[in-house]
């Protein structure tokens, strides 16, 4: 009959709370003791049962979290696209009617381009076995290194898991693209080099812009405003679900918001409340994504 001390050791053994040396000693003991082996078999099951119960509990919690519909359902996507297009036309009409609130016509964009799911981040490198949980060094003060790792990972991703899914393109009205002043975060002033090059960026870390969100506003559902040195976001902006990106060139700051796979440029010349309008310019989007993934 396995004694109390043996059972304690067994518990430590099964939960990896034993030194390597003690493990070897215990294994020898286990081999020589059939009662202990019987207890070992039982305890392995019981501990698995405890772990399974916790996993079930966590899964149940996650199942209760409201999530957006996953992509891929063609019919649902078409209906969604149709609905979005209709809403955008209505929003455009609303904007047109309420023009006294918006003083920057150059940012007008009538139809939001449906951002396709392929715009998600590039596939990381698939490790050959379980993902390594041992020390991986570099913290976020080596963004260039990390960027190299990410792009290397993209090239090496296994062919059995597709790199890019079929693109889902919404019919868009391209006749009214934003005309003015497309901000190019990669370009230096009067740089003779190609504007598509990524200029080396001095990463200073955290954005210092103070942000307040108003998720309950009945009038403004997806708007922003600069006021009293702060950025106000009106809409479903839960903490950690959006990102503020600031670019400083000389003494000029340009601010973008990233939310739900889309980028929005912010005008901070006055304190007007403006609707958030997704950026559609592909080159700019590419740059912004690259910066986001380089942090």
């Amino acid at each position: 009959m396995a004694d109390e001390r043996d059972l304690e050791l067994l518990d430590d053994y099964l939960t990896n709370r034993m030194s390597e040396q003690d493990r070897s000693a215990f294994e020898q003991k286990l081999q020589a003791d059939p009662d202990l082996q019987h207890e070992y078999a039982l305890q392995t099951r019981v501990i698995k049962g405890i772990r399974d119960a916790r996993i079930a509990e966590l899964k149940s919690m996650l199942n209760n979290v409201p999530v957006p519909h996953a992509p891929g359902n063609a019919l649902a996507t078409k209906i969604a696209i149709g609905t979005v297009a209709t809403l955008m036309i209505a929003a455009g009409a609303y904007w047109f009617i309420s023009r006294d609130e918006v003083t920057a016509p150059e940012t007008k964009s009538d139809v939001e381009q449906q951002v396709t799911q392929e715009d998600a981040q590039p596939l990381p490198d698939a490790p050959p076995s379980e993902p390594k949980e041992e020390e991986i060094t570099t913290p976020e003060d080596n963004p260039v290194e990390e960027q190299n790792q990410t792009s290397a990972g993209t090239e090496q991703s296994k062919p059995s898991l597709a790199k890019k899914p079929e693109p889902l393109q919404a019919p868009t009205d391209r006749s009214k693209e934003p005309v003015l002043d497309v901000f190019d975060p990669g370009a230096e002033e009067k740089s003779p080099e190609s504007k598509t090059d990524i200029q080396p960026v001095l990463k200073s870390g955290k954005s210092s812009l103070l942000v307040e969100t108003d998720r309950e506003n009945s009038r403004y559902k997806f708007h922003y405003q600069f006021k009293e040195g702060k950025l106000f976001l009106y809409g479903p902006f839960e903490q950690n679900l959006y990102e503020i990106m600031e670019f400083f060139t000389n003494d000029k700051r340009t601010v973008f918001v990233y939310y739900n796979d889309r980028f929005y440029r912010l005008e901070e010349t006055d304190t007007m409340i403006r609707p958030l309008e997704a950026i559609t310019d592909k080159a700019l989007l590419k740059k912004l994504r690259e910066y986001r993934s380089s942090k």
Binding site: T15, L42, R45, V46, I47, K48, G49, I50, R51, D52, A53, R54, L58, L62, V65, V67, P68, H69, A70, P71, G72, Q117, Q121, P124, A126, P127, P131, E133, E135, I136, P139, E140, E146, T150, G153, L161, A162, Q199, V201, L202, K203, S204, G205, K206, S207, S208, V211, Q239, N240, L241, Y242, E243, I244, M245, E246, F247, F248, Y291, R292, K295
Partner: protein, 187 residues
């Protein structure tokens, strides 16, 4: 040019909250990356249900590793979770392939004994009080120390937590053993 982002603190914050056992942070992560992660499975011959399952499983793996202190994360959280999803889905695809070829060759046999025993243990877990369940889950799944468990659950000290864990585990073991005996008797 200088580039600053609000996200660099957010990632660190989220990870620290997860390490500290903040389930709300896990929910936030779940929502944040739902589309990205489920897309991986759906665009590789999976259904939405399978995608959701794989993503939840991956997130729970991440949770467990972060909670038990076995993870020093420097790549983005999404990168890490994505690679777990890839692994899990690949295994599942392999399992399906194996299963379908086995079915062709011979009838599938289910290990009734294991399944039955697992059900017994699950039923016994349900008979424990909430605190007992929590103590055991934190100890055996999250690999928390007695000190952390004491703090988390408001016990007076480490010894109190140790005693509680001992009693709860003993109760569970006794329940399981008695159920097993009953089962053997009925078989």
């Amino acid at each position: 040019m200088v580039y600053r982002t609000s996200a660099s603190m957010n990632e660190k914050e989220i990870f620290e909250r997860i390490q500290g056992g903040d389930e709300k942070a896990l929910e936030l992560l779940y929502k944040k990356y739902y589309r990205m992660m489920t897309k991986l499975v759906i665009t590789n011959s999976g259904t939405e249900d399978e995608a959701r399952d794989i993503y939840q499983d991956a997130l729970i793996v991440f949770w467990q590793k972060a909670r038990s202190g076995n993870l020093v994360l420097t790549s983005k959280i999404s990168t890490y979770i994505y690679s777990i999803c890839q692994n899990l889905w690949r295994k599942e695809l392999d399992r399906k392939k194996r299963l379908s070829s086995e079915e062709r060759d011979s009838p599938v046999s289910i290990d009734m004994d294991t399944a039955e025993k697992e059900k017994i243990i699950a039923r016994c877990m349900d008979q424990l009080g909430d605190t007992c369940k929590k103590v055991l889950m934190y100890y055996y799944f999250e690999d928390m120390s007695m000190q952390d468990i004491a703090e988390k659950l408001g016990f007076a000290n480490t010894d109190t937590a140790k005693t509680k864990k001992y009693k709860c585990k003993k109760k569970l073991d006794d329940l399981v053993k008695s159920q097993y005996s009953a089962q053997d008797f009925l078989d």
